[in-house]
Symmetry: C2
Subunit: 252 residues, 2 copies
């Protein structure tokens, strides 16, 4: 199996390094990641400037490159450019530093990279960890769960012909997995108005999560309860028809 | 009526200037646009850096600002920051320089700005013109059609509570409007591999449109036939349930 791995936190992030190492035990691994932090870039692609390419080292058995583009660029460039002679079987995006739950998905570079995989007709999975600033060891443990998920779906990849899987891993003891729908996640007091040392007005996007009544079986509550959420997302929307099919995979 | 207008081509683009002027005849117009070209930015938002704000002049009766952020930032900042004391009734994004048809929508800054309007619970419409490099006069004519569309929906804005309208205006004689679904638009030979004057490898995203068999009633063929396409899009996906409701509006 040939797996293309990308992320939105950049090539130096522990999440992608640990995921790539874990997957290299069961597959040929090809990495194309942004050269620096590119989170919240949504499905941006770079068309008004060139995309520079740099060879990188993660481990002896991993082909790795960083590029000056976005997460969606990484997938486009990985499949149609840098690794165009490799028949990629699966695209993984992650493991993201922080959750991508509910409405987050439309802003998420992690999810958008997986959606670009789908645009390129490749089965694709986005993986996020539900906490910021975690250790290498945490990502190493989380990667084991990703290996199990890939193992469960690898012989039924045609299920992913019209949706990606958006996976969120809880930052607590894992009770198992649940196939979910996207919840609603909105923020309040988002805009902080400030002034520069020279008196110029600016804003910085911040805000805290609003308390919203959620639909049944949503990903947000699922992760809170200690289950890994697996949401079939169709170009940024829950693909409700696929929920039962993927439940039937009985992923551990 | 209070209308917030943005785009992804930047505050200096003829498309937004003509649209703002046309709308100012029927509504109070508030403009927040990127300070420069930000097309193909998808639903990117700026969270790792501040967003600078500049006052701009379009016409005496138009409140206009440019910001250092993305199209989605413009809407977020317009509603929650710069114009937070104004009760915005409608968000318009455009008129974009070039089409946003079918699969384009997931990459489109124009559509993403409208989707951000929906995230902010505001009825939102994205408008694109199906040709690049057109004149001010062309946008002035196109804006008349937008006025008619806004006029048709302005008393039924609750129809837009769970979808945006993605509007594409043909670059030919207009036969009328059609409510459509998103077609499929993919590109071939996308990655041009090049070398810098210093021998460094880079890629530039290009490519030409693939010939794909389209579903019935898709936006791509509709615009080709000379009709304005109006597609209800739900967080980047066709909201098929809404097609008939909006057809019933009988927009000219």
């Amino acid at each position: 199996m040939n797996i293309l791995i990308t992320n939105d936190d950049g090539i130096r992030a522990d999440g992608i390094i640990e995921l790539a190492k874990a997957m290299s035990n069961i597959a040929n691994v090809y990495v194309v990641a942004p050269e620096s932090q590119r989170s919240a870039t949504g499905h941006a692609i770079t068309i008004h400037s060139p995309i520079m390419v740099n060879e990188e080292f993660i481990a002896d058995n991993i082909n790795a490159y960083s590029i000056s583009g976005t997460p969606a660029d990484c997938v486009k460039l990985g499949i149609e450019g840098i690794f165009k002679d490799i028949d990629i079987d699966l695209v993984l995006s992650g493991i993201n530093n922080g959750p991508n739950l509910g409405t987050d998905v439309i802003y998420s570079g992690t999810a958008s990279a997986a959606i670009e995989g789908l645009v390129q007709n490749k089965p694709s999975i986005a993986i996020s960890y539900n906490e910021f600033n975690v250790t290498k060891e945490t990502y190493r443990e989380a990667s084991k769960h990703v290996v199990k998920i890939v193992d469960s779906v690898k012989d039924k990849l045609n299920i992913l012909e019209d949706c990606i899987l958006n996976v969120n891993i809880p930052n607590k003891e894992i009770k198992g997995t649940k196939v979910t729908v996207l919840g609603e996640r909105k923020y309040e007091n988002v805009m902080e108005e400030r002034y520069s040392p020279y008196g110029k007005r600016y804003f910085w996007i911040g805000g805290k999560i609003k308390n919203i009544e959620q639909v049944e079986n949503n990903d947000i509550d699922c992760v809170e309860e200690g289950y890994i959420s697996i949401t079939p997302v169709n170009i940024d929307m829950t693909n409700k028809n696929k929920v039962n099919y993927i439940k039937d995979l009985n992923i551990f």
